[in-house]
């Protein structure tokens, strides 16, 4: 068969197929599939964005906490026989006078008051030895353990005692404030 006849045959086939298209409703089906695909893409992007934000927040927290700790003075190590009483988080915070102030107050020094300890670990290993570390944190940290803090005070700096176990893990935290003895 000559080249021309092959061309003729192919042209005939092309002409016969010229009107071939997808069947009725195919465009609608394709559009619906496109919508589903776009929904999946948007969901994946949102999940990725949330995961990235959470990772960034965790990284900031991780980087910030050690930096704060290096600025504070470490209290002397104390022997602990039993864990301090830790009230359930649902109870309102009770601010009370510490039974034994940590530092011997100078005359006219403001009186130190502290909250109860709030657990930082869900199931902590037994506490054999511990030390209290005085740190400065944002007041927002108080809200994270369930204490009421006004929005306008979230960025304020407050002092806190972190109870660190023999394994160097932070077990609990309490927040400290001062008031004048005259009050």
């Amino acid at each position: 068969m000559s080249e021309d006849r092959v061309t003729e045959a192919l042209n005939a086939l092309r002409g016969a197929d010229l009107d071939i298209e997808t069947g009725p409703g195919a465009e609608v089906r394709a559009l619906l599939a496109f919508r589903r695909q776009q929904r999946r893409i948007r969901f994946r992007r949102m999940a990725l964005s949330l995961a990235t934000s959470a990772a960034a927040a965790a990284a900031v927290l991780w980087l910030t906490v050690p930096r704060v700790q290096t600025r504070i003075t470490t209290a002397p190590e104390v022997a602990v026989n039993e864990p301090p009483p830790i009230p359930p988080q649902s109870q309102p915070a009770v601010i009370h006078k510490s039974a034994a102030p940590r530092r011997s107050p100078a005359p006219q020094a403001p009186e130190e008051i502290a909250t109860d300890f709030y657990p930082l670990m869900v199931s902590a290993p037994p506490l054999e030895r511990a030390m209290l570390v005085r740190v400065t944190v944002r007041a927002a940290a108080m809200r994270s353990v369930g204490l009421n803090v006004g929005d306008e005070h979230l960025a304020d700096l407050v002092q806190a005692d972190v109870l660190v176990g023999q394994d160097n893990l932070a077990r609990a935290i309490r927040f400290v404030s001062y008031r004048n003895r005259e009050e």
Binding site: A9, L10, R14, T22, G23, A30, L31, R42
Partner: protein, 181 residues
Amino acid sequence: MSSIEQHLLKRLLKGDEEAFAALYRVRHGAICRFALQMTGRKDLAEDITQETFLALALHGNRYDATRGSVMAFLYGIARNLVLKRLEKERPEANETVVEEFAGDEDLLGDLTRRESIDEVRRAVLSLPPAYREAVVLCELGEATYEDAAFALGCPVGTVRSRLSRARALLAKKLTVKCMVL
């Protein structure tokens, strides 16, 4: 047309449904024909057409306008999908198809008849995929040699040589006497 399609593709990649519909309306026929002429099955061709446009929405950012048209890119996607399906659903050896349509007379003498066109179709379908896609794109489709080269991922010279070889095979298949006798 090409710049309009590039603009539509940009909008499509941002999730624009109208752009998807517009591009689909303009190009689905060509893609469907390509898939049908490559596979010989209408149902498969329709699936492949839809998948091609969805893949374009997903991977369209890989399109490089300096390498070819959006249509050529679409052909490339469709071609990959066709080859995957053919690999999965390989029905019978090509030789069997040759035996089916080979006759002892020149089939083009009566090309106006439907059967003759079907025989040409079968002859095309019996070509090895590499030759078939060159014929389908350049002879039966709307692709230029450059577009075909972009879609097939090979140089233009390769497209030309495959086309030449394919035409020779077709000539032989359409005139050869029944090989089984």
